[in-house]
Symmetry: C2
C-alpha cells in the first residue's frame, strides 16, 4: 500500500458563500471546481492550493452526514483526502489488514473521481478519503 500525494483537506461549513469569500477574496485561492453531489448530500467547492485542494463542503440537509457533523462538532476539518492510483486495490489491501472502512467498495466522487472513505477508528481519529483521478476536470 502506498498513499500518494495529499489531495485535499475537506472543511465542513454552514455558510458556503461566506467560506468561499474568505478563501477566494481574502486568502487569494482560486475556485477550480463546483459540484452539488446529491448522493452525498453536499454542495462542494474546490480551491487550488499548490498541487492540493481546499474542499469546502456544505450540507444539502441537516440529516446528511456533513449536516450531522456540523450539528455535533461545528465548522472545521471534516476529512483528509489522499491520491491513490487504484482505490479498489487499496481498499482490498487495507480490508485484508482489518482496517475499518466506511465504503466497502469504491464509489463515484466529485469531478469524475473514484473514492472510498476509511473509518477514523483505523486512522488515528482522522476520516480519510482515498481519491483516484478520473477523466473529469477538477482544475
Amino acid at each position: 500500500m502506498q498513499l500518494g500525494r495529499l489531495d485535499h483537506v475537506g472543511i465542513a461549513v454552514t455558510d458556503l458563500a461566506a467560506a468561499r469569500a474568505l478563501y477566494e477574496q481574502v486568502l487569494g485561492l482560486e475556485v477550480t471546481h463546483e459540484e452539488v453531489i446529491t448522493e452525498q448530500g453536499v454542495h462542494e467547492l474546490l480551491l487550488r492550493a499548490g498541487e492540493a485542494y481546499v474542499q469546502l463542503v456544505a450540507p444539502l440537509a441537516p440529516d446528511s452526514p456533513v449536516g450531522k457533523f456540523l450539528a455535533k462538532r461545528g465548522e472545521g476539518v471534516h476529512h483528509v483526502g489522499y491520491a491513490v492510483p487504484d482505490v479498489a486495490a487499496a481498499l482490498a489491501e487495507l480490508r485484508a489488514q482489518e482496517f475499518e472502512v466506511i465504503d466497502p467498495a469504491p464509489r463515484v466522487g466529485s469531478g469524475g473521481t473514484t473514492i472510498a472513505f476509511l473509518h477514523p477508528k483505523s486512522m488515528q481519529g482522522v476520516l480519510v478519503e482515498l481519491v483516484e483521478e478520473g477523466t473529469g476536470h477538477r482544475g
Copy 2:
C-alpha cells in the same frame, strides 16, 4: 494576501510510535523530519505526501496545547498549514482586516521555518498555520 500551497495537515496523536507505524509501514509514507519542540510542547514527525506533509504531533505534557486538545477532542486533525512567502507581511495584512490571530508576531517553527497560527474563529473553525520556509531541512 495570497496563501501558497497546502504545506501540511497536523494530526494530534497520543501514541506517536503507533501513528508512525501506521503512516510509515502500512501506508508507505516516508518520515523526512523529526523534532522535539520544547517551546510548543510537542514531539513532531513529518511524513512526505507529494509536495505536502502529514505532520504527526504528540504532546510532551498533558497541559500543553496539544495535550489539552487531545483531552477535549481525542486524536484527529489539529491544524492545517499553508505556505506563504512572508509570514510577517501576511500577519500584518490579516490583522489589518481584524483577523483573530494566536501569534501576533511570527515565531520559530520546526525545521527552521517561521510560523504563525491564525485563530479558528477567523478561519471557519479551522486552526491555520502560516509557514515560511527557512534554511532548515524538512525533507
